[in-house]
């Protein structure tokens, strides 16, 4: 197994992300580049990943020089943009003292220690064992790598495996990792997945630290990271965990935007949601729901510019369009698990109400499972209800995003063509991750707002 090549690719992702963050005014100093390194890796994954997907659609063969060229092009564009866009202020919650400092340091150490353990496990032990992983996610990546591009209709090629209609960002990135490794070494992928999971935690911490004091931030993130399903999903090879992390990070950036109206964060939200929409079919739906929820939350918060979040809707649709056009132009044959058109056929829907009932009952049961997600969701929901009287916009964001996502996922099972028991047994525990990780990532923000008034006045009393 060669690790040097994939690490070079990781540096390209990091460089792309740093350039994009520079371009939109988030990073303007070495210190900021360090603090936002996690966010840069995730943003680079989305930006360079999307560029690779569009290049593949246009017929690229994914030789090593192509991702390098795309990185150079994106970086040049972002650096030019950075000359036009001004950097904004980067506010920061203060340092802790006394027991609060001990609490923050202990929680941060626990997060770092556990993530390090997961990293060693991913590098030495983990294999991508999920059924869908080797039924179509990895074969699609190996096909792109082996046959130098998408090459539709090549027997045994990219579209020969199940679900050729799924957006290709994850296989495209995996194929690029293979190209940099020099062979289709799937054992490098769990570590790559761990890097992204770690980058997600670092990114969420970097964005949230603007409004959340460390004594709240690190314990709250610790609760999410320690959830058994968070660690267990790393390296499995499914696209769902990455989708969940992208949606959650977008919600965090969007949530801070709702409170501060910092346009840079809305731009980051858009980039993350573009990545989500190219990661999985549900990513587009969840992204659109989140965009509308952000607009509603911003409207409730008051102030100008709330409707800017709605600009994400056409952006996401436009970003997802090239793949749909490619499927249509190439006449790729596929049998989707569900068709959104059936939502407009009352007869079809009424005959399947039993499926909806099963989905509405089982999805929360899995999301609330202590063995999977500890108390991440109950805590988030409790705080969201408590914050209704203090900061209604955050309540709208948390309850709206979780509620809309829950109903959206239930609708997928309602209109799905597969037997509902089997469908849920094989996928529900993965898809609810998008809702639970989102809830867990927003928990520090909500908790900080609940505690803020008390803390500010305490400081004044000192």
């Amino acid at each position: 197994m060669r690790v040097g090549g994939p690490l070079v690719f990781d540096l390209l992702l990091l460089g792309t992300g740093q350039a994009v963050l520079y371009g939109i005014g988030v990073v303007r100093s070495r210190g900021q580049a360090l603090v936002y390194a996690g966010l840069a890796l995730v943003v680079g994954w989305c930006a360079l990943g999307a560029a690779i997907v569009y290049a593949l659609i246009l017929g690229a063969s994914l030789e090593v020089w192509q991702p390098i060229l795309l990185t150079a092009a994106l970086a040049a564009g972002a650096l030019a943009l950075g000359r036009v866009i001004r950097a904004g202020d980067d506010t920061l919650e203060g340092r802790e003292r006394g027991p609060a400092q001990v609490c923050a340091v202990a929680a941060a150490a626990l997060v770092v220690g556990y993530l390090a353990l997961l990293g060693l496990h991913a590098a030495l032990t983990t294999s991508p064992t999920g059924w869908d992983t080797w039924a179509f996610w990895l074969p699609r990546a190996k096909a792109i790598f082996s046959f130098h591009g998408l090459h539709p209709h090549l027997q045994g090629g990219f579209d020969s495996f199940a679900h050729p209609e799924y957006p290709p960002l994850v296989p495209a990135i995996d194929a690029t990792v293979f190209r940099f490794a020099g062979d289709a070494s799937v054992l490098t992928l769990p570590f790559q997945d761990w890097l992204l999971a770690t980058a997600f935690v670092a990114a969420a911490a970097a964005v949230l630290r603007r409004r959340v004091r460390p004594a709240v931030l690190w314990p709250a993130l610790c609760l999410l990271v320690l959830a058994p399903q968070f660690g267990a999903s790393i390296g499995e090879g499914y696209a769902d965990p990455e989708l969940a992390r992208l949606i959650a990070l977008a919600a965090v950036c969007g949530g801070v935007w709702v409170l501060e109206r910092d346009g840079r964060l809305l731009a980051v939200t858009g980039i993350l949601l573009v990545g989500a929409s190219l990661t999985k079919r549900e990513g587009l739906g969840l992204g659109l729901l989140l965009a509308v929820t952000l607009a509603l939350a911003a409207r409730v918060e008051g102030g100008r510019g709330w409707a800017r979040a709605l600009l994400l809707v056409p952006v996401l649709i436009f970003a997802a369009l090239p793949w749909q056009i490619w499927l249509h132009v190439e006449r790729v044959a596929y049998k989707p698990d569900y068709s959104l058109r059936t939502l407009f056929h009352p007869g079809y829907l009424s005959g399947r109400l039993g499926r909806l009932g099963i989905a509405l009952e089982r999805l929360p049961r899995i999301a609330l499972s202590f063995d999977h997600w500890l108390l991440v969701l109950p805590l988030a929901l409790l705080l969201a209800f408590l914050v209704i009287g203090t900061r209604s916009s955050l309540a709208v964001l948390v309850l709206g995003a979780i509620g809309a996502g829950y109903l959206g996922l239930a609708c997928v099972y309602w209109i799905g063509t597969l037997p509902v028991d089997w469908y849920m047994r094989t996928s529900a525990s993965r898809v609810v991750a998008s809702l639970v990780v989102l809830a867990g990532a927003l928990t520090p923000l909500v908790a900080a707002e609940l505690l803020r008034g008390e803390r500010v006045s305490s400081a004044r009393l000192e």
Partner: protein, 151 residues
């Protein structure tokens, strides 16, 4: 609203709110700490050979890895193959899983139709029933075999 502007009732309400938030975090934190032994056991790094890790998806589902290893060794990387399945392997699950995993495992070898393939991989199928001539037959065991077609 600032503390100075708040009425005593509002101040009491905020203290109550703070207590609820801290209590909720404490309960969640204690619950999470109870899981740490399990998490550490599950994430314990253990050096596993590349071969074992590569085949882990197959062994995870209880598949016989001999067919996979034999096919990867005997079928050239630029060849095509077809898969037939039959009652020689009794479990329907094993037939489906072997076939699915094989398609992933054997890339860049391409799976094509029987009529146009260089090799036939049989998962409990009857190679003779296809009416083809073979230059080489590799019996893997467990009702599974590989056959190179005579062209």
């Amino acid at each position: 609203m600032t503390e100075e502007a708040a009425t005593p009732r509002e101040r009491a309400g905020r203290k109550w709110m703070r207590a609820v938030v801290l209590a909720a975090f404490a309960v969640s934190g204690i619950a999470a700490l109870t899981k740490i032994p399990h998490l550490v056991r599950a994430a314990a790094p253990e050096r596993v050979s590349a071969r074992t890790r590569a085949l882990a998806p197959a062994t995870f589902y209880g598949l016989d890895t001999r067919l996979l290893e034999s096919a990867a060794r005997d079928i050239p990387r630029d060849s095509t193959y077809a898969v037939i399945a039959g009652g020689g392997v009794r479990s329907r699950f094993v037939r489906i899983a072997e076939r699915t995993f094989l398609e992933y495992w054997l890339l860049p070898r391409r799976r094509t139709h029987v009529s146009s393939s260089d090799w036939i991989v049989s998962i409990g199928g009857d190679l003779q029933s296809l009416g083809l001539r073979y230059s080489r037959l590799v019996r893997v065991g467990g009702g599974m075999a590989l056959a190179e077609r005579l062209r």
